[in-house]
Assembly symmetry: C2
Homo-oligomer: 481 residues x 2
Amino acid sequence: MSPKALDYDSLNENVKKVQYAVRGELYLRASELQKEGKKIIFTNVGNPHALGQKPLTFPRQVVALCQAPFLLDDPNVGLIFPADAIARAKHYLSLTSGGLGAYSDSRGLPGIRKEVAEFIERRDGYPSDPELIFLTDGASKGVMQILNTIIRGEGDGILVPVPQYPLYSATISLFGGSLVPYYLEETANWGLDVNNLRQSVAEARKRGITVRAMVIINPGNPTGQCLSEANLKEIIRFCYLENLVLLGDEVYQQNIYQDERPFISARKVLLDMGPPISKGVQLVSFHTVSKGYWGECGQRGGYFEMTNIPPQTVDEIYKIASISLSPNVPGQIFLGLMVNPPKPGDISYLKFVTESKGILESLRRRAQIMTDGFNSCRNVVCNFTEGAMYSFPQIHLPPKAIEAAKKARKVPDVFYCLKLLEATGISTVPGSGFGQKEGVFHLRTTILPAEEDMPAIMDSFKKFNDEFMAQYEDNRGYSRM
Amino acid sequence: MSPKALDYDSLNENVKKVQYAVRGELYLRASELQKEGKKIIFTNVGNPHALGQKPLTFPRQVVALCQAPFLLDDPNVGLIFPADAIARAKHYLSLTSGGLGAYSDSRGLPGIRKEVAEFIERRDGYPSDPELIFLTDGASKGVMQILNTIIRGEGDGILVPVPQYPLYSATISLFGGSLVPYYLEETANWGLDVNNLRQSVAEARKRGITVRAMVIINPGNPTGQCLSEANLKEIIRFCYLENLVLLGDEVYQQNIYQDERPFISARKVLLDMGPPISKGVQLVSFHTVSKGYWGECGQRGGYFEMTNIPPQTVDEIYKIASISLSPNVPGQIFLGLMVNPPKPGDISYLKFVTESKGILESLRRRAQIMTDGFNSCRNVVCNFTEGAMYSFPQIHLPPKAIEAAKKARKVPDVFYCLKLLEATGISTVPGSGFGQKEGVFHLRTTILPAEEDMPAIMDSFKKFNDEFMAQYEDNRGYSRM
């Protein structure tokens, strides 16, 4: 009998081509070890609550009340919920068309899109149109939707930073497009050099690729760098001249751990530049409730905002969103709360500020502890995490280690990370999952383990690494680019 | 300057080809009228809570507590939550890896997949493997994922019932495949005749299409019919002989309004048939929390279960699911509660049963009121809604009405439904959105308006319809197939 449609050999080839390292071999092995009873520290995904971060109280109170609207009439409700949470729950319920159990418009609830627009206006100093904001089940879903709209076939190229977050490579493969890499400069603190961009586009064109869009991740994932205003201007001018859609992955905009380069949105820089550029570059910006000091990953709330996108295209994106009816409504409420948190004078304000500041300040300290820890290890160098949630140290693997990896039929960084996992329970992602230059090896870890556990984790890493290096190093020194 | 990537002319053609009538012209016009202050009865989407159906209390209590785990330690929690809801919330929190704010495994929480497997075993009498159950953000997302895995290009055909739920036509267009229609027999109560299937496959093959999969919707959407066991056997035998994956859309399995044909799952019939058929047909079955007596559409919870799918393919589907990290976790909890509701003896049992029975019995009465109402109208005939949530009357449009529609550049049923909307505020979906035979016209409405409003709605429909017919009919009679 001929193969069946869901036999491996006859699946959609694009599905098979996809690689997704964040939950790849390392994650699967870690899950096995966990089943066998080993204690695993999952630092492969930016998943703060899984590592003990407590949810912010106020938004959880509001969403709990929205889930249980019958409580709003309960005479005892005031005993366990503050008045401003009750008021806010009533507000959000009034924005729905039947509570959390009713589908919303496929773009999300109009009232929440309005709150998002007001947030963007406050942030950037330019008005934002709720009709150009679509709520999504997390930012990833939005990115996938936009790339699906842009990519027509393998002749269409998308510029993606390398190292990159594999959402982009995976989605581009899935939709049958071509990834056009541009390299970030590790020695310049993972900076973006526009000359690299030009070169990447020129090379892609030689291969017959039409470069259609450019992705920036700011702050960077996995690299943690924050783009300066000057750099953003260069990028936007480049997109204007090369006629590229700019996709601004800004999900880490609240996660900033230095003061020299605060977050500045691509949209603000674009609009500051004035015409013709401010009218000429198509921009889609992404945000989420999964990151920041919220970390509400499991709720799957996000949005994208479109600038300079023609109405006919917006209608097409709306039509495609309609196929799956609506993003989840509780996630939309979280998004509303994120863009519209308690204000000074509100009952819950002080608690909210204390909680959120506590999380951010601890993340800043952890970024420092981790960078310092890695830099104290033999054959490891690591840029400081300026923003986002990751540390991305370079590991100089000795030739003998590379040979041992070859024998084990593993990519060298996968080999290293698997050994690290087996020895310490620390579950990281090998740098090859994000793309890197030939012969250079990294790993990515989140900075999310609890602050009090951090010293022990870094000690355990150092012990493993230094033993590993002792085992594989000989007197001739180590491989170094 | 050349067109930009997000200009309409340069978008992915598959995106542009997609049609999605459930939120199409009628819905957009209804939204406009609502903004202008007209009272609209949205019967275009099966969205029970939007039409006033109250959520079931117990699951909402559990999920509210999961959202606010700090309440579990509050000495007053027992004043507003019953003990079994508190216990259940603790149970589900223990299945997460960090509460509702943490990403779950991309297939969903293992503990909930186990509860789903137990439910399936109780329902079908055969064990089910949690590793072959994936939780999704609603059933639609699952259907899209599976079709994306199957469809390699326009040479791949998917058999879809006509009339059909446009999720299928839209998704097949989006992924660049070919829809192969098979017609349901309106005069045989929307029955499925295997001879029609054979004919459809033969015709598709003549056109060079490889038919890869077959969709059944049971109970039917928009047609409401329930498939008999004998019919399911014929279908499965057909899939076996023709080497087709069977996709079983069973989201309305709790919505049954007659006693002759209770719901029976495709999986049970398949396994009852024994080898070689029970081992030879690849089956994916879909279910959701959006329908049944739950109607928790906005929560976006669903699952699919795979039977006879090779492990390597399951791994590929897992990999693709990983790109968007995890389905929303609150929706997963709702799914757990749906497959594992309160049991006799639980504090909340009686209330839960009263609520759920009340909803189902009212739906059964509403199905009858609506069918009878349509059948009392001039030039309207309507099969009884055996299951699901829709009524799908045929409207015999007089030739003059068809001419008037042509003049207005509208498809005749769209013309009729727009007039209905303007006159009465009833927002339906024209039958052409679901596909129908040439020259035959229908509309789809849900049976979800509140029972007490139903007589007035049907009166208002009858008044509109009879006036419409009087306006367009002449003495020569009307168009009839």
